[in-house]
């Protein structure tokens, strides 16, 4: 096992990694930009090294300074957290070349999964369902009819040069295709000066379901249930839960097996997440694989009782996975709310000084945060400042627990997404688990216009 790990990150995930290291008896080195000198991760670590100015490109993404920091402190491994250098294949490679263990999968794993077209190709080869679509631009009507038939209705016609909904047409049956195809081409031509369009499978109210996997160097790979991350705004997840209200035991086993297959197909090692789109008919499609610990990993920890960051470090140290698939048993239900320092109505960032902070406590409540009273939320980084996670015996009880925990949560000095979370957890549609990736935009637009929240 490692004796000392450098944590190449900041905020709550740096704190989370330092906690796991200390529980494993491993010393920690915090790196920080000048603006983070008083941050909690700096306080909690055994050693601290300033690696640059506030701009992340010159500090938290500064590969030479981070590696030098590891060198002068004698750290044997680097934990990248998420974001910054976590999915930078070059960084993983340089780490390897200088003999420092990168806590994550291999540089090859990262590079491969970062190339979405290549990853998709491999999955297709392995018989894993991927998002159906036409291979490229479609010029001829006949070609469009054939592609749509192959994909299966409904399909969406999109402009290759497109954006903002223009040149887009959803077609639910064959007889409407040709007219929609022509309109889309004309619209694309007018809007972008390019009439090129392509076809994709159109999903009505899909869910974002992802499967957590753990894999050791010998190829033993298990899955740890799924997370439902359908509550998103502009592809930013806001609330996650495990298990998904849409996944039953048999679907879980099926998706789990596919996720394990996806990981094995690239000789994946360490923690990883396979993201699927799940349609209304419970068909699922591979979207991509994330080769890092994820923001929402706690909900999986709560229902499985497995410490993913500790497991991750043990796997990186070359230890064999001592868990078997049958050891993984889900218990209860867990939610995570991302508390961002932003206006809960306009979503504009709200950096500043936190003048009062009291996290909720009690049974089944977990808070991952790096907030200290009088600490500042600098404007340079991600607006995520805390994660509120609850666990209870079932989904209804977990909703009740989250509502009371949100009520108890005190953060003053910056605006946060707490009021929005409260409104979502009060919504009967959400409470019934009738969510999809379109839920949040619809929920927000259905609310009466509001003045800046508290």
């Amino acid at each position: 096992m490692f004796k000392k790990i450098l944590v190449a990150n900041r905020s709550e995930i740096a704190v989370r990694v330092i906690q796991a290291c200390h529980e494993l008896g491993i010393k920690t080195v915090a790196v920080y930009s000048e603006v983070d000198a008083k941050a909690l991760h700096v306080r909690l670590a055994d050693e601290q090294i300033c690696i640059g100015p506030p701009d992340a490109a010159l500090s938290y993404r500064n590969i030479p300074n981070i590696l030098s920091a590891a060198e002068i402190t004698g750290a044997e491994a680097i934990h990248p957290g998420y974001g910054f250098l976590a999915e930078n294949a070059h960084f993983a490679e340089v780490c390897q070349s200088v003999g420092i263990k990168f806590i994550g999968p291999t540089a090859e794993n990262i590079a491969l999964m970062g190339d979405k077209a290549k990853a998709r190709e491999i999955m297709v080869k392995k018989g894993i369902p991927v998002l159906p679509g036409s291979p490229g631009v479609i010029a001829e009507e006949k070609e469009a009819l054939e592609a749509a038939k192959n994909i299966g209705y409904p399909v969406i016609i999109k402009a290759t040069a497109g954006g903002g909904g223009r040149g887009m047409r959803v077609v639910t049956q064959e007889e409407d295709l040709l007219s929609a195809f022509q309109t889309a081409q004309a619209e694309a031509k007018t809007a972008f000066g390019d009439s090129g369009v392509y076809l994709e499978k159109y999903f009505i109210e899909p869910r974002h379901i992802e499967v957590q996997i753990l894999a050791d160097e010998r190829g033993r790979t298990i899955y740890l249930g799924e997370r439902d991350c359908s509550i998103q705004r502009r592809h930013q997840k806001l609330i996650e839960e495990s298990p998904s209200p849409a996944v039953d035991e048999s679907l879980r086993r099926e998706m789990g097996a596919m996720a394990v297959e996806a990981a094995k197909s690239v000789n994946y090692c360490n923690v990883g997440t396979v993201e699927f789109l799940l349609d209304k008919d419970h068909r699922f499609y591979f979207m991509e694989m994330n080769t890092r610990i994820q923001v929402e990993h706690p909900v999986t920890e709560m229902v499985t009782g497995i410490d993913l960051v500790k497991e991750q470090i043990k796997l990186a140290a070359g230890q064999p996975l001592d868990l078997r698939q049958h050891d993984v048993r889900l218990r209860g239900h867990s939610f995570e709310c991302r508390i961002n320092a932003e206006c809960p109505d306009t979503f504009t960032p709200s950096p500043g000084t936190i003048t009062n902070y009291r996290p909720p406590g009690g049974l089944g409540v977990r808070v991952d945060s790096a907030i200290l009273c009088n600490s500042t939320v600098p404007p340079y980084y991600d607006s995520l400042i805390a994660k509120l996670i609850v666990h209870a015996e079932n989904r209804d009880a977990a909703i009740a627990r989250m509502r009371r925990a949100l009520d108890e949560f005190t953060i003053e000095g910056v605006k946060t997404t707490i009021p929005l979370h409260k409104r979502i957890f009060d919504d009967p549609v959400f409470q019934k688990g009738r969510i999809s990736t379109g839920y949040l935009e619809r929920f927000i637009s259905s609310e009466p216009a509001r003045v800046s929240g508290t």
Partner: protein, 155 residues
């Protein structure tokens, strides 16, 4: 802060003709400065320690002073990288500069080794080396003060 530190502070204030006090902890920073008439700080009697160097368990809010601030007029050259500080290009070579050396802007003052690369650190000013703040072969972090330089009137 303990009683002893407080006493030291009070004594300091009482003895000195000018008083400058800076206390900072847990997010509150207070700086009090009192000068008789308007004599510049530089006229402080030599021998009295600069008040700001009293160690008051003071984590700074923004960029922490990692070393005592220099007298007015001195410039501080800080490390632009993380690595190991060397005063000479090779173990058996002479140091680039010594205390009292007069240096030119752009002149190499030291090297910092990072990832097996030797980064040559140049002076940003014409001036005289009045303090060397890091021992040879010691690790340095980003922004760590390396040299104090008394600038010379530009030629």
């Amino acid at each position: 802060m303990n009683l002893k530190e407080l006493k030291e502070l009070i004594e300091l204030i009482q003895k000195s003709e000018i008083a400058e006090l800076e206390v900072e902890k847990s997010g509150v920073r207070v700086r009090i400065k009192k000068e008789s008439i308007s004599a510049p700080i530089a006229t402080a009697p030599v021998g009295a320690p600069p008040v700001s160097s009293v160690p008051i368990a003071a984590p700074a809010l923004q960029i922490p002073p990692r070393a005592p601030s220099a007298p007015t007029g001195w410039s501080t050259l800080k490390s632009p990288v993380v690595g190991t500080f060397y005063r000479s290009p090779a173990p058996d070579a002479d140091p680039y500069v010594e205390l009292g050396s007069v240096v030119k802007k752009g002149q190499i003052l030291c090297v910092i080794e990072a990832m097996k690369l030797m980064n040559e650190i140049e002076s940003e000013w014409d001036g005289k080396i009045v303090e060397i703040l890091v021992e040879n072969a010691q690790p340095v972090e980003y922004g760590e003060p390396l040299f104090r330089i008394e600038p010379l009137a530009s030629t």
